[in-house]
Subunit: 463 residues, 2 copies
């Protein structure tokens, strides 16, 4: 294995220059949601292509129906070096309300704040320009010292991530052969805390269902018909109340098929993070964990499946009172999936359960909203463990493998369309105020992020 | 007892003239909800005062903060004759959409329709001008034959019933001594069917409650918090689902205190009406009676208390899907009361039940919407039975004592504010299209309605 010290030292010494490059990129107002900034988004893509070409990448701006992609290729040091696809996005969120910004969002600078922290201010510093530049600068450190990269690297930078990625799937489909690598590196996530790097090993899947329960053919007067006519809100309430048992487990038949217990050593590592129900729920004004009994809040949100009602509507909901029995009532229900739970089977089980609760003279209709399985890397995967060791060498505390309660669509797309797993590593912090005024990125995240990628690329390249 | 035949004959013979008087009244566009018709409402009151004065009533137009009342007094034939207060309203609903009327709503006429039926067309013919004129014409028949009325009669005609009766309570309060009678006659209801007159002996009471369940202090992302954070929609669904047991009975503690079984003879008379679940529910597209098991639909809607959710709202209810866990969810719940159920106790029991279901870190707030006890005349009351016998002599089928699922506020007001019971008798039919285009009143309802009041006044006057 190459001696990394010169590369790491060079990365650290180059931070002032790296910051100037990041500032250049942040100054480009690449707001993808606002057509007024279309040329700026284009300029962002071109800036990145120039930057990558200066590092010896074969880089091009690639047109789509929307904003362009940047695709770049660089060989590895050896012919058998592993091939990684690095993904990031160079578009940013709008900046309004502008008056809430303490500094011009497009005039980045390093500033000192309380607690001896140094931050880089500006729109996109954390989401995702600062993050993607940690990888680019890591490549630069290799090129400017060793002159080669430990891995074969393909880069994909998107310009529509903040606009819902409308062109991404078609682009992946049209360019699958070019983009397919051994695995993907996705740098759009956070550390556990400022001391503890994190790798997201699992992402929960999602099944969304909308149900409409219909009873009478019109709204009824509850005086005239109350007590004899079916009330669809009652039916719906019973359906929804019956989704969980007294222990907070989901009652659907076969719901837990494919759900595996988290390995003890992983649970132990989560316990060490010091997260508690009081802390986690205290932030949102709660204190009592809901859901399954006898599981930590991290397990509940990272490694356990859920059923949540996201919306419900029926009858009269305006001011005052109307003694109506509604003709229909509806609910939106979502299931977060883990492990090998099958979205189609969960959907079927839900629909069968709901149908079993509908009286003979009432009806129900269903509308599917999305369905994607969980993504779970094996905790003993060499990919994960190499990255974990590399990160642990860079940061004060060892890296932790975490779950993510939500979904990152790109990860599923890479898995389904390109057949590759993603390693999710990022150096954002939860107080970076992404999507909000006064977005910032820690200078330490930038510097140690660059050095983290130097280490990870080395670890992955070492067969 | 007076020989009624001359009075009844005179009433029948006077129908053509009586119709002309009704037409005069219907031609007055006394739409109380539309300020443009304020003068017409006033004209309606003045017309009635003139009409009543012509019959020897001491009648006056009485101003209120809104539209005027008409109050009229007439002595009974003897000093100890019972004193009745007759209530009706002379204001009408708006007529739009006008293009759906087959005939001018304010140009009434008698028309022949299919089945040999003759109807009086026009706005207010059934609700309530035609109905109140049946009573006025009955008084006329007495005056033009015998020259006296069997009862002391006070008349109260309201001009704001279709506008929610804003002035009624203040007026009753301010004029309680003048309006207090032995009992009230209210003519704003329907027959059971075209052959069968009905007396409403019971009106269900009502308790309305709005509850808001609050969990986290903001809407949450269901990926990040789902499975650990309380979901107020789940809590609400469990509360609402738990309101009824498997037999459809309401589970609140003490809910059935004061609920008495309907006497067997009354239930038998209801069974004879031939109402079935198929017929009753078939009209609204249903077939399976909800609510309490093993009770007829008439019993369920007339004589049993209910709990109905009238509205529910929480989370995201727009198009598409949003994986949110709502900060709060709300429902409007109403209870229909019968017998001696105490509204305050029902409200307390509901609130205690709801509170018992709220997790320690969540909260609930309540908002009361109305609370009125049921009104139930004893089925063996002399008042009811005299009216029942009188009606049964006039119509092809015997009168039936029915319940009413809904509420008629004036009846509660008379009971609470003037301490008198109401006898609810009316000759409308369910197909009269009140509040809709092409309102009509059966000519037979008008004629036999007049004769019914002749008989009822005689029966009530006979001590």
């Amino acid at each position: 294995m190459t001696n990394l010290l010169p590369v790491l030292d060079h990365a650290a010494a180059s931070v002032p220059a790296a910051l100037e490059r990041l500032f250049d990129l942040v100054r480009i107002k690449s707001i993808s949601t606002d057509p007024a900034y279309k040329a700026e988004v284009q300029r962002g893509a071109e800036w990145l292509v120039n930057e990558l070409r200066s590092l010896g990448f074969d880089a091009t701006v690639r047109d789509t129906a929307g904003h362009p992609m940047v695709v770049a290729h660089h060989d590895g040091a050896t012919a058998d070096a592993p091939h990684v696809l690095f993904y990031g996005h160079y578009d940013v969120q709008p900046v309004d309300p502008l008056e809430l910004w303490e500094h011009d969002p497009f005039d980045p600078a390093v500033r000192d704040i309380a607690g001896g922290r140094r931050i880089i201010t500006g729109r996109g510093t954390s989401d995702d320009k600062g993050q993607l530049m940690t990888f680019v600068e890591a490549c630069r450190a290799y090129k400017e010292t060793i002159g080669a990269l430990p891995c074969k690297v393909t880069i994909l930078f998107e310009g529509e991530e903040e606009s819902g990625s409308p062109s991404l799937k078609p682009f992946l489909e049209a360019n699958a052969a070019e983009l397919k690598a051994d695995f993907a590196l996705v740098c759009d996530t956070n550390m556990w805390d400022a001391e503890t790097p994190a790798i997201s090993a699992g992402l929960r899947g999602l099944v969304g269902e909308e149900i409409v329960v219909k009873a009478a053919d019109r709204d009824l007067h509850s005086g005239y018909f109350g007590g004899a006519a079916a009330n669809p809100i009652h039916i719906l309430a019973e359906i929804l109340a019956g989704l969980h048992d007294a222990d907070g487990r989901v009652t659907l038949e076969g719901f837990y098929d494919g759900v595996e217990e988290t390995p003890e050593n992983i649970k132990a590592s989560w316990d060490k993070l010091g997260q508690t129900a009081d802390k986690f729920l205290g932030e949102i004004g709660l204190s009592v964990p809901a859901g399954e009994k006898n599981r930590s809040v991290l397990e509940l949100t990272w490694a356990r499946p859920t059923a949540e009602v996201n919306g419900i509507l029926g009858g009269y909901t305006g001011d005052g009172f109307k003694t109506v029995i509604a003709a229909q009532a509806s609910a939106k229900v979502s299931f977060r999936l883990v492990g090998k739970q099958d979205p189609a089977k969960i959907r079927d089980a839900f629909r069968a359960y709901v149908r079993s609760k509908i009286p003979a003279d009432c009806s129900v209709s269903f509308h599917a909203h999305g369905g994607s399985p969980a993504i779970q890397l094996p905790y003993d995967s060499p990919l994960l463990n190499k990255a974990k060791d590399a990160l642990s060498q860079e940061w004060p505390k060892p890296a932790v493998m975490i779950g993510m309660g939500g979904s990152i669509p790109i990860v599923g797309d890479f898995q389904r369309m390109l057949g590759m797993e993603s390693l999710l590593v990022g150096f954002g912090l939860s107080d970076d105020r992404i999507h909000s005024p006064n977005e910032k990125y820690e200078l330490r995240s930038f510097e140690k992020g660059i050095r983290s990628w130097v280490r990870i690329l080395a670890a992955l390249g070492a067969r």
